[in-house]
Symmetry: C2
Subunit: 345 residues, 2 copies
């Protein structure tokens, strides 16, 4: 059996020296190296941007969608949409574990979700069984490979796959919140009524505790009602996250002028950097989980107002992130009800 | 005297509610509010991207350049290039200090450089005296306003203005390095032979100390020779920062497989995120000072390889950053010689 590279570089066909994610083409031969895991795939969860693009190109026709998906995988050895650059994740059962990974808490037959992007996962599709357009999911017969560095989560027995996937999709945010927030902190969560925002809200209140002050900010009526229903926020602010002055004033009031020790940005719209920077106290921390964050907007924005704040790029991976996030569904029934209502079919 | 907002929002003419930097037009009346500083301007240091654009539009003609600059300031109340979005900084003498700022260590007549962008600084140009095209500098007669949150540095007596400006331009990086690096750390500096990289190299070695291991990485022959001349690096790696695999292998060797505790990215070219992430140890920190950093490239890149690293957005401002950076010129004669040779006319 061949020895593989930790990050899967041994599977890259071109360009040479690249990592599997940016690579144009990778080897999807379904014979494992010593440090790989073979998966029998049940379902692909195509990234929403990618699936929308494929649907449009296929004029919504199911057979055309299937054809387009097979074409991508045939060309690239992975479901890496060449237009959007994005992938998705998959659910399947462990078929074989390389000898180097034998000491992992994983058995052949375990049902897992991969938490690394399909855009770097060697995939072979034998047959597409069903395309569920409404939820961006596609059931297939086929196999995939997980690299040694590839992260995954065992799916829990006590919740539906769709619920677990909704939680795992944003697992990084809650785990980072758990790490950043300390007892007694003033915590501002921007976009607290959204999917990742609600998980952060739970985790922030748990860590900040009774002496802490958790401020939930969102804009829409639905989001604000969800926050009220959860009963976790010490203060609720209804404001537009692209209006830094309004956000700053509200947070000043909510913190008696002290501003926030930690700001967590979970709102997936552009131009919210300044509304995150202004309400943060000097030497405070800002965690940008939003993928709409502009690096230069944040860097130059903080300099422009002379704010000495630590700004952290949201890392989708944090050790134990899937365990922490799935546990929230056990800890908080109200939150689970909202998630089941919103994100499961 | 009118009371001003800390961030200068009181000067924004349109759009209402915006901060001065993104604003289309601000009020450049040279009568100060209670928390502003009036400056008699000597020299504008136009941002390089902005000045190049103006020169091109003016076909290199000096009178046309002057006309274009006056047009920008007349339209916007600030030297905020509408095409590039960028500004620059200025040098001048303090003319008046608002009563709210009287306790600052600053006197009328002090020579200062503003460290906030011209793109948010109210400016009035009476006359353009000289355009120094080669160094993007323009001497004027005119005045400017610094807001309460606006940062500045008093120019030291013992060095030329051009040397001080070269140092202040990248002051944030060295100050952050001073804060992040601990005694005994493995520190990787990517782009260590460049302007910000060399300051970080000095600061990293000072903080990591004799038990630390400072690894300087750069690509070009000139940069590598500068690093050798400085004698600060424990290890020197000549590698392409867009080749993550090569960088990873070299750092593995240089750290006996432990990888870097802190990675500082100072290289202003795109696609160096993975070369910063891979060589960082789990729970290590990566400081992206490069403005060419892609937020999503870093966020998804770390997740893709399952790296639990803290990734920090380089903040141009850190308390004491100008003092720390200017002090390096006093501490390190070799570095000062290189800076004078490269960055002063």
């Amino acid at each position: 059996m061949n020895k593989g590279n930790k990050f899967g570089i041994h599977r890259v066909i071109k360009p040479v020296g690249a990592l599997p994610q940016p690579a144009e083409k990778i080897d999807n031969t379904m014979e494992i190296y010593d440090n790989e895991i073979l998966i029998d795939v049940d379902t692909l969860n195509i990234d929403s941007a990618s699936f929308t693009q494929i649907k449009e190109e296929a004029d919504g026709d199911i057979e055309n969608i299937k054809g387009k998906m097979l074409e991508i995988v045939n060309n690239r050895g992975k479901h890496h949409n060449p237009v959007t650059g994005s992938g998705g994740m998959l659910i399947g059962r462990v078929a074989e574990i390389g000898p180097k990974l034998k000491d992992r808490d994983l058995q052949v037959g375990d049902k897992i979700a991969t938490l690394v992007s399909l855009s770097l996962t060697p995939l072979n599709i034998e047959r597409i069984k069903e395309v569920r357009s409404a939820v961006d999911q596609v059931d297939i017969e086929g196999q995939a490979i997980l690299f040694e560095s590839g992260i995954y989560a065992k799916l829990p027995e006590d919740m539906s796959e769709t619920l677990a996937l909704a939680v795992l999709d944003v697992a990084g945010a809650a785990a980072q919140t758990a790490r950043l927030v300390n007892s007694g902190d003033n915590v501002l969560i921007i976009g607290a009524g959204g999917k990742s925002g609600m998980l952060c809200l739970h985790e922030a209140k748990k860590r900040a505790g009774v002496t802490g002050n958790v401020i939930a900010l969102d804009y829409g009526y639905e989001a604000i009602s969800r926050i009220k229903k959860l009963g976790l926020a010490d203060e609720i602010i209804q404001a537009d996250a692209t209006d830094p002055t309004a956000v700053y004033k509200s947070v000043q009031e909510a913190t008696d002028g002290n501003l926030a020790d930690i700001v967590i940005n979970c709102v997936n719209i552009p131009n919210t950097e300044m509304a995150s920077i202004l309400p943060c106290r000097d030497r405070g921390k800002i965690y940008f989980f939003s993928m709409a964050t502009s690096f230069t907007g944040a860097a130059l924005g903080a300099e422009g107002v002379g704010k000495d704040v630590e700004m952290i790029i949201g890392n989708g991976y944090t050790r134990g992130h899937s365990e922490i996030s799935l546990a929230i569904m056990q800890e908080n029934q109200k939150l689970r009800d909202i998630f089941e209502n919103l994100y499961t079919v």
